[in-house]
Amino acid sequence: MSRERLLNALLLAGLVVVPGWALWADEPFTITLATRAVIFALAAVGLNIALGMGGLVSLGHAVFFGIGGYAMGVLASHAQSYTPLYDGLFTLEGTKAMPVIWLVAAAASALAAWLIGLLSLRTSGVYFIMITLAFGQMAYFFAISWPAYGGEDGLSIYVRNGFPGLNTLDPIQFYGICLAWLCLALWGHARLRRSPFGLALDAARQVPARVQAVGLDPKRLYLVALVISGAVTGLSGALFADLNRFVSPSMLSWQMSGEIMVFVIIGGVARLFGPVVGAVFYVALEHWLGGVSDYWQIILGVVLLAVVLFGRGGLIGLVCGKERPDA
């Protein structure tokens, strides 16, 4: 077993053991922290598909995170006020069922990613970063000025949404749901990397001209990567809103996009478990240093600087070295 695989296995074990210990020691707050980290990791797994595999530096992933959050907020608020979402030719009711919310969140984010991709993939490099940022800001200000769903104040949900057979109000059970999603996403990403699509996308990141010369359209590969990426991040947004029982425009802010990117970069761009390392590291730092000083992000900034300057493979690269290609 390679060093990186061992590290990944240890990380997964940690994600089971630490909340398990917290349950035993009756420390529900630690479970909430772990849930937060796992959801952030899931959001970053989404970005890692676009950024790590496709080389698409998107500074607009908060759009998908926020759309996922609002998908949950809108559906649940209609369900809790017993007002239909749409009442015309047919009646569309809200829902408090997580599976339906997840489906809507992922589908809406995928659609948004497709539309944003169609326009922004006409550019590349710095212009791509700027145009995704611009879409993010548009979504942010739209949410702020949309009074129907709370506008600037956001939208509160009284009771966490339900999942058949589970008590989602129990922190450890909700954590289990989030961890299951993270594992599923990591498994899917691992498969994707070795798939025909993954090979073509990886080549399109390195030498688009080569990919064209063998008869494939790099832009279409990028677009599909962005759609998959957006759907995963959107799903994490729905879980995040459910964790807080609250969704607000801040989920759509450019700072949020930046945080998701920081998770990926600190952990290691294109490394399978990079997002997990980055998100856990971020949440831990936020918790421990946040208790010491409000300016804890200065430390985060120093770490980020060190990682970018000295370890292009992020923290995982620091521990495991350069990644080997596997056929």
Binding site: S195, P196, Q206, R210, V211, V224, A327
Partner: protein, 249 residues
């Protein structure tokens, strides 16, 4: 099967005042190696770009397999079997040699939209990729990272990837570029065997290779084809000697 595989008809392309292509009409026939030679700045790269689809001509047509492909993008021409190699190796350096060859086979298969199966477990793609590597003499390096290959091996891999495309015609942009005498000789032998597979349009500076390989030669000077003929005809042509070959011939 039509005898003429690839044809350009009166290609014109200008960049501002610079006329890079002035009415270029050439043909590539089944089974031949047609070399394009010319001094630096003659418009060879511009011609290749128009044939392969990276540049759109101002006027004129490109026909491939009897079809007008002037308006088709690069990838559509590649799917028809127009296999090109690049002057500076355009390979995925972080991937293995086998992965680069698999990419070619995958592109030719037209089925990249598979997200869960393992590409290396696709036996059909693997067979195509491995036989191309075998022909190029690179099978022993299948699991080597492409960045670790020597320059000569990369040139061979360029050709191997082109081979995976089920090519109907090769367009090779200076395949000998940067090769020493030994590497150049080996690649010359390889290309000589390839011409039975599909005809080769060969842009090349290495005159030894051109004279050894070419069935026909066209001489490009300032965007015009000043002469087309067999090796002997070109060697003897006074205009060519004056414009290009000079003391070499």
């Amino acid at each position: 099967m039509p005898d003429t595989i690839l044809r350009t008809h009166e290609l014109h392309k200008a960049f501002g005042a610079l006329r890079a292509s002035e009415g270029i009409s050439i043909t590539l026939k089944q089974g031949e190696i047609h070399a394009i030679i010319g001094p630096n700045g003659a418009g060879k790269s511009t011609l290749i770009a128009q044939i392969c689809g990276a540049l759109r001509p101002d006027s004129g047509r490109v026909e491939f397999l009897g079809r007008d492909v002037t308006a088709l993008p690069t990838e559509a021409r590649a799917r028809m079997g127009l296999a090109r190699t690049f002057q500076t190796s355009a390979l995925a350096m972080e991937q293995t040699v086998l992965q680069n060859a698999l990419l070619g086979a995958l592109g030719a298969s037209g089925r990249p939209w598979r997200f869960f199966s393992r590409v290396s477990a696709d036996q059909a793609l693997r067979d195509i990729a491995e036989s191309a590597l075998h022909e190029a003499g690179l099978l022993d390096f299948a699991q080597t990272r492409t960045a670790e290959l020597s320059h000569g091996q990369r040139r061979q891999l360029e050709v191997a990837v082109a081979l995976t495309l089920r090519p109907r015609a090769f367009v090779m942009d200076e395949p000998m570029a940067g090769l020493g005498a030994e590497g150049s000789k080996r690649l010359t032998g390889f290309l000589d065997r390839l011409q039975d597979r599909a005809p080769i349009l060969l842009v090349e500076h290495d005159m030894d290779a051109v004279f050894a390989l070419a069935d026909r030669i066209s001489v490009l000077v300032y965007g015009r084809v000043i002469a087309t003929g067999t090796v002997d005809e070109i060697r003897a042509d006074p205009r060519v000697r004056e414009a290009y070959l000079g003391d070499e011939a």
